[in-house]
Each structure stands twice: as structure tokens, then as C-alpha cells.
């Protein structure tokens, strides 16, 4: 089909300003990415595309008379921010409002267009002005589940105008309703988890450790108050050693293995076995000139001392070493050496 002079003139504008759109694509994407990173807002993805000449021609052939010039077409540059959580759609929206000048007349919150008995494509479409140009660009914001639904829905041909039998349509709508509920539940779970973490942090800070169950979150909060710091510093002082700080999260499995159910249980081990752990360290490094230790030395010796005091013997130490460093036959020999060293110490002879 021959293109009309009107369409040709819009396509000429497109070809002329394509480099401008390409530059804008990288710039806008960079600005959004930087802002999200600086503010700790994690999204599933940020996609962008520039409409191809073929796609633009198709659009103009269908409804070219709607547009006077290229500047009337708002989706030459399109971006899509896909969030993990429903709440984050609004957060990203506020980011866009902060970063760009929004064309409110053409910006649509499709989520608000729904009738109470309708489900389906829900997305936020922002039209923003492209600074120092006559052009605008579009940003869609949706959750990962809304994105999945939109893609699957598109795949059925529903939006292409082909009539879809009623039962398929009903099933698609049921699915949309379910995904909406799932999206909401994910947000609720996240909010509840945040509340739980705050409660745990305040319990840890107030010292009510017996009330705090031991899990990954609570142990992480516990480590923030540096519970093994005093022991490590005491051990380091023996040789004026430097302490290399490292993650102590692997000790969660160890303390669980030792039967700790609350942070209070770990607190008890620290109280009852720190002296023994210190004695063991003194015996080992006191006669050396080693002047560097890892922050894992304190909890490691604490667990060894606790196991030996409980009568866990070399097998108990072997299990500890296997948990921390991976199973190895050499851990058995090491456990025997540790038992022999400890047998000379006061805590084993009291």
C-alpha cells in the first residue's frame, strides 16, 4: 500500500530524530536506575524499547489521521518497570513524578478504571515529557504477576480483536482475579515480615532474648549487637592480634544443631562457656606469634567448649567442624587434637 504524504512526513521526522530517541532511552533508563539504586528500591526489571519504523508505519496506517506530527505519538520511546510487589508500583510512580515532568492529561492509572465486577489488565501508564525536545515518552509500571498475566493474555489473541469463546474469557478473568489476590498476599506477607523484624530488633535491643525464637532473621539481628565481640577482643589481646571481621551467619546452623531454640539459649552458652573458649584460645595461640584472627574464632571456640563441657566428645566436635567447613575425614583428626588440647585446661578438670 502506498503511504500518504502525511504518513511519509511523520516517518521522515522519525528517521531524523531516531538518534535523539536512542540517546534519550539510555539517559532516562540511567536516571531511573540510579534513583532506584540510591533509594534501595529493588525492582524485577527495567525494560525499554524504541518503536521500530515498521511498527510505527503500521500504527500510522491504522490511525494516522489522529496525529498531526511525530510529537503527538507518545510511545516512540517506551519503558517498563516491573516490580516484585504491588506496593512498589506506587513507589515507582512517585519516583517518576519526582524525576520527570508528567503529562497528566494523558497519564492513565488503568487500575482505577476497573469496574467492581471486572478483572484483567492492570497497569499504570505514565506519559512524561522528554526534556528539551517536543517529544514525550511512556513508562508502564506493573508487578511481575500483572506482567505475566498481560503477556499470557496477549498470547491468547484476546487483544487482537479475535473473538474468544466465553468460557476462555471467563477462565482468563478468573486467573486475573486470582493473580490480583496473590499480588496482595505477597505485599501483606512482606509487611508482616517487616513488622516481625522490627519487633525482634526491639526485643534484642531490650535484652529479652529468651522471648526471641532462633531463625535467620533473629540471628542476623542478634549479630548486630556483636554478642561475640567481647570474647573475640579478649582472645585477640593475647597476641595483640588484628580481628578480621567476617560473616557469622554459618553459626546459625551450628547453634541450631546444639539445640538452641531462642537467642536466650545462645546467650546462656556465651555466659557459661566464654571463659572456657578463652582458655582454649590462650592454650592454642599463646605460644605462637600469630597476630591475626577471624571474628569466627570466638563463636567457634565457644561451641567447642560448650560441646566438651556437655560431654559431646570428639564426635560432637567433628559434627561442629563438618557443619562449619563441610564434611571431611580430616575433621576427625582435628577433633581428636582439640580434645587433647582441651584436656589440659582448667574447664575440663573442674
Amino acid at each position: 500500500m502506498d503511504l500518504t504524504p502525511h504518513i511519509q512526513s511523520i516517518l521522515d521526522e522519525y528517521r531524523r530524530d531516531l538518534p535523539l530517541f536512542r540517546e534519550a532511552e539510555a539517559r532516562v533508563k540511567g536516571v531511573i536506575n540510579d534513583f532506584l539504586a540510591e533509594n534501595g528500591l529493588v525492582v524485577a526489571s527495567l525494560e525499554s524499547r524504541i518503536k521500530t519504523e515498521g511498527s510505527l508505519t503500521g500504527k500510522l496506517e491504522l490511525k494516522g489521521s489522529k496525529y498531526n506530527s511525530l510529537a503527538d505519538i507518545t510511545d516512540i520511546l517506551g519503558l517498563r518497570v516491573i516490580t516484585f510487589y504491588l506496593d512498589d508500583v506506587d513507589k515507582v510512580a512517585s519516583v517518576l513524578e519526582r524525576l520527570f515532568e508528567v503529562d497528566w492529561e494523558n497519564t492513565v492509572d488503568k487500575r482505577k478504571l476497573h469496574e467492581i465486577d471486572r478483572f484483567g489488565y492492570m497497569s499504570l501508564h505514565y506519559i512524561c515529557y522528554l526534556k528539551d525536545t517536543p517529544y514525550r515518552f511512556e513508562v508502564q509500571v506493573r508487578t511481575i504477576l500483572q506482567h505475566a498475566w498481560a503477556n499470557m493474555n496477549h498470547d491468547t489473541g484476546y487483544k487482537s480483536g479475535i473473538e474468544v469463546p466465553k468460557e476462555y474469557l471467563r477462565n482468563l478473568n478468573r486467573l486475573a482475579g486470582m493473580l490480583e489476590l496473590v499480588d496482595e498476599q505477597f505485599s501483606i506477607i512482606r509487611t508482616d515480615l517487616t513488622d516481625y523484624r522490627r519487633r525482634v530488633q526491639s526485643l534484642v535491643a531490650s535484652g529479652n532474648l529468651d522471648e526471641v525464637p532462633l531463625d535467620g532473621d533473629t540471628f542476623r539481628s542478634f549479630l548486630k549487637i556483636d554478642p561475640f565481640g567481647p570474647l573475640n577482643r579478649r582472645i585477640a589481646a593475647v597476641n595483640q592480634a588484628e580481628i578480621h571481621e567476617d560473616t557469622l551467619m554459618p553459626f546459625l546452623a551450628v547453634f541450631k544443631g546444639l539445640g538452641c531454640n531462642t537467642l536466650g539459649d545462645i546467650g546462656k552458652i556465651i555466659k557459661e562457656s566464654s571463659e572456657a573458649a578463652y582458655q582454649l584460645a590462650c592454650y592454642q595461640i599463646g605460644i605462637t606469634d600469630l597476630d591475626i584472627i577471624s571474628s569466627s574464632l570466638g563463636p567457634q571456640n565457644l561451641c567447642i567448649a560448650h560441646i566438651l563441657k556437655q560431654g559431646g566428645g570428639p564426635l560432637g566436635i567433628r559434627i561442629l567442624l563438618d557443619t562449619l567447613n563441610g564434611a571431611s575425614e580430616s575433621n576427625s583428626a582435628l577433633a581428636e587434637v582439640l580434645l587433647e588440647q582441651a584436656s589440659n585446661l582448667p574447664f575440663m578438670n573442674q
Binding site: 592480634a241 578480621h244 567476617d246 554459618p250 584460645a281 592454642q284 595461640i285 605462637t288 606469634d289 600469630l290 597476630d291 591475626i292 584472627i293 577471624s294 571474628s295 569466627s296 574464632l297 570466638g298 567457634q300 567442624l321 562449619l324 567447613n325 563441610g326 571431611s328 575425614e329 580430616s330 583428626a333 582435628l334 587434637v337 582439640l338
Partner: protein, 101 residues
Amino acid sequence: METKIYKEGDVTTVKFIGRLDTPAAQEVTKEIESVMDAASGTVIMDCSEMTYISSSGLRIFLSLRKAAATKGGEIIVKSISNDIRQVFMMTGFLNLFQIQD
């Protein structure tokens, strides 16, 4: 102390022969500069013929571990003797490395 460095594909092996004490550590630090740059892959620290390690030697291991963590690589400490394993144990370094027999 002698250091031998082999590279095979994405795996770099550093073999330490002898005592990794403080004077040797200075020399080794220079020799393994290229290994630091290649820490995006797997680096095997072959200790089968290492007879002693000092704090300076431990610091070299730590530097490599840091370089690997930054570059997404991994460090494997291989074939350490029981004596050196005890040094790793008494400093808490045993928990920092993947140790292979």
C-alpha cells in the same frame, strides 16, 4: 619458599613449596599479583608441600579471598597438612575457606 603458578582454562593453581613465613610472604605477594587479577575464576591454593604458615601468609590467603569475593571467583585451599590445618583452626581461618583434602 617457592611458588609455582599454573593456569588451565578458568582454573589457576598456586602451589606453595616450603615455609610461607614473613620474609617469604613479601616475595609471594609480588608473585601472585597476576593471580589476584585472575580471581574471577577458580583459584586453587595447593598447600601439599607447604611446611609452615605465618600471620603474613594468612594475610595473603585473606587478600586472595577478598579479590575473589569482589570478582565473583572462588578460592579452594587444597591438601593442607595437619599442622597447617591447626593454624587455620586456632585463628578461625578454617571457617573462611573451602578446604579440600
